[in-house]
Symmetry: C2
Subunit: 167 residues, 2 copies
DNA sequence: ACTATCTAGTTAACAACTATAACTATATGC
DNA sequence: GCATATAGTTATAGTTGTTAACTAGATAGT
């Protein structure tokens, strides 16, 4: 089936019958955006497989963990923390509420805002999911040592939250 | 405006009036998928700003660089390399062709397939964009040293292409 | 109290991206 | 020459991300 191994030759004028299979050697290999996206897709694929049985998507998982950590958080604050637009939060919480994992509590002092809490069921599930997510991370990064994994994590935090990166 | 600094207290039954602003301290901070996504969004934001004047989106940039490296590559192979579905390649190449940056050449041996080439204009633009992308990467990761940036890149390659990671 | 302005949440509309199925034209193997 | 496979394309639908606009309640000034 495979016709030939890739050769490094370049600058030809005829359609190419070789089968290059990676970006190795191209400038693309040095671009952080590209590498981040590809790595993210890899890790997300594992995550989604792990969560498939629970029908939990990445944004839902993140929300559950944040609500668990900040019970009574308002939707606005949740949106800020996760850097998600407020309209997206609405359907996210709707979904969690429909499944009986979270609930909105109208705030007495400011009747416009809702505090979000996990139900007992939501708390229990979140505990499970956190363990699952950790396993998924490890599986997705088999090619990394534990030290490298931690290194990677700390470099990533420096990028997306340079202020909070362990000082 | 700001009401109060976040306190670490948790497990309350009333809506929270504190304003947590990050995932610091939460389990989420240790999840690779989350960190990768947030970091990717950060880097992409810079990239998109840099490319805005040229109306080039990330996938288009990647395509240009791969076509430059493998002139005459078929759409199928381009799809494989970038891990994009074939239908998506079609509109991508259409767009590049409409802008006079790339062109399809029907392959003589296999009249089903097209070799894709950059036009002179496409080549010139790609050179410009590559330099721009590098600058954008650096700007997006000001909080990293050059060594850390290279470290990060190599860790990411290990994840998404464990076989080709510099052996 | 009365009005204007602000904010939290929501709804709706829309663009962008992803994934799938099906169609065409060639090509290949028996 | 017939059945099957492949490259590219088109069409379609589901998901996400983005923006604008609406409602209910809050706040400040007069």
């Amino acid at each position: 089936m495979t016709i030939s191994k890739k050769s490094a030759s370049v600058h030809q004028v005829e359609p190419d019958d070789k089968e290059p299979t990676s970006v190795a050697g191209l400038e693309l290999e040095n671009r952080l955006g590209y590498a981040l996206r590809r790595a993210q897709l890899t890790v997300f694929k594992h995550f989604n497989e792990a969560m498939q049985a629970y029908e939990i998507r990445p944004a839902q998982f993140s929300s559950l963990v944040v609500i668990e950590g900040y019970p009574g958080i308002t939707q606005t604050n949740l949106a800020k923390i996760l850097d998600i637009d407020p309209p997206r939060i609405v359907s996210l919480i709707n979904h969690l509420e429909e499944r009986g994992l979270a609930l909105r509590v109208r705030c007495k002092r400011d009747k416009r805002s809702h505090g979000i809490f996990l139900s007992k069921k939501g708390e229990a599930l979140t505990e499970q999911l956190k363990a699952l997510a950790e396993q998924s991370d490890i599986q997705a990064t088999q090619s990394l040592s534990e030290i490298e994994r931690r290194q990677l994590l700390s470099l990533l935090v420096k990028i997306y939250a340079p202020d909070t990166a362990d000082e």
